[in-house]
Symmetry: C2
Subunit: 228 residues, 2 copies
DNA sequence: TAAGAACCGTACCGTACGGTACGCAAATGA
DNA sequence: TCATTTGCGTACCGTACGGTACGGTTCTTA
């Protein structure tokens, strides 16, 4: 019965436990960490507290399971190895940017990040465990997709950069800026969402100015140098 | 260091209460929100709980006071209106970047951000109050300094951008990327701090490629070709 | 069908928190 | 000098949480 958390592979929970985790996530999204009590989860999921402790060990185990469960639901689309052109690369990058913004602005994502951040500075060594878990589970996926895209762009001689890690950091910063933090702090998300499309486009254009070869950034008039 | 520690003139607390707030901040930094109990603060500050409630109303009032108190200690230096050159602008931007990274990575800043984020998604309308407070108190200062710098650069015909707000967002994203979030999640800060200098320089060089005139970004070879 | 496991609902326990009340000492002021 | 204020220390109260125990019910399985 002990479910071992295997890194990398999305471990599926039994349906009963999945339903419980779903309810737990719902409670967390609606009321924050304060609303995520063992009794509350048991009541919302129509199960007993004893079963909770049997399945997840203790409260921290439940939190970890929630993160793993949610991460397991996110699927990254691997772009098939097509022949990249300037246009298709730009489209793929913009799609990546929009997906990234959508993920970061999601209810559950925000709630889980708030939860992990809240647990981050506890004295116990267990403190940053959730943070690391969230980082590895959630971010790795996104980063891998971006890395593949960047590498493909370089192979096709459409991008130039020395350090892929650094290029990705630049890409991320241009796309997200301080948006994530503002959302985490409670700023209303809806007005931002309407600007995601334009924001993604501008970010990619800027990125292409920095790391694209020749004058690939012609989507909008670039603030810097010449366009066709 | 451009940050000056001075008793805030905006909201000055009596010395006794300032000492209490100092202890409260210390407890928060050391043990997180869980360690910030009324009894704990009273014990650490050698005062009674009754006095705490008399001075700050309730727990939320104490938290707000802590944010205001800490924000009052940070002062930004306005760059005197000197005649900007390409070199001096670049130096000022890099100094700004380093100061920004230093502020964001500070113990108290991280603790307060974690606190506000943790309170962000409570049902009550009061939830995002701390977040807004932290945003307005802390960020406005930084943003104002950057805005002044950017505007001065444009006046001197060294920078070009249409929307100052958007240019600032780009600058912020290039400097910070996902660093702030990773630190909030509990990642070890020390290794990052050693890279702040280089990071600031690279971010500013990239920013100058995007928004500088001519080939001012000479720190690294600029991937785009000069024009105009 | 009968034994056994899984599980629900509830009650229970120890603890810790936010907030209040009270007694008493030190300052303050006329 | 005495009255008033201020504030410390402690005790107290109601509540709510994490975690455990137990009786009763449903489901599995041989």
């Amino acid at each position: 019965m002990d479910v071992i958390v295997e890194a990398g592979k999305t471990q599926a929970y039994p349906p009963r436990q999945s339903a419980v985790l779903e309810q737990a996530l719902r409670l967390l999204v609606e009321g924050g960490e304060k609303a995520l009590t063992t009794a509350g989860v048991a009541r919302a999921a129509n199960c007993s507290k004893e079963s909770l402790y049997k399945w997840f060990g203790d409260r921290d185990g439940l939190l970890s399971a929630m993160i793993g469960f949610q991460a397991g639901k996110v699927r990254t689309v691997d772009v098939a190895a097509e022949t990249l052109t300037i246009e298709s690369l730009r489209r793929h990058l913009i799609a990546f940017a929009r997906d990234l913004l959508d993920v970061l602005s999601g209810d559950v994502s925000l709630a889980l990040n708030r939860l992990a951040i809240g647990q981050a500075n506890r004295k116990e060594t267990k403190g940053s465990k959730l943070g690391r878990l969230l980082q590895e589970r959630g971010r790795r996926q996104v980063e891998r997709r971006a890395a593949a895209l960047l590498e493909a762009g370089r192979q096709a001689r459409l991008l130039r950069f020395k350090d892929a890690q650094e290029a990705y950091a630049t890409l991320y910063g241009l796309i997200v800026s301080d948006l994530h933090l503002r959302m985490l702090l409670g700023e209303t998300v809806e007005p931002m969402k309407r600007e995601f499309a334009g924001r993604a486009e501008r970010a990619i254009d800027a990125f292409l100015v920095l790391h694209g070869v020749e004058n690939v950034g012609q989507g909008r008039e670039t603030p810097a140098k010449g366009q066709e």
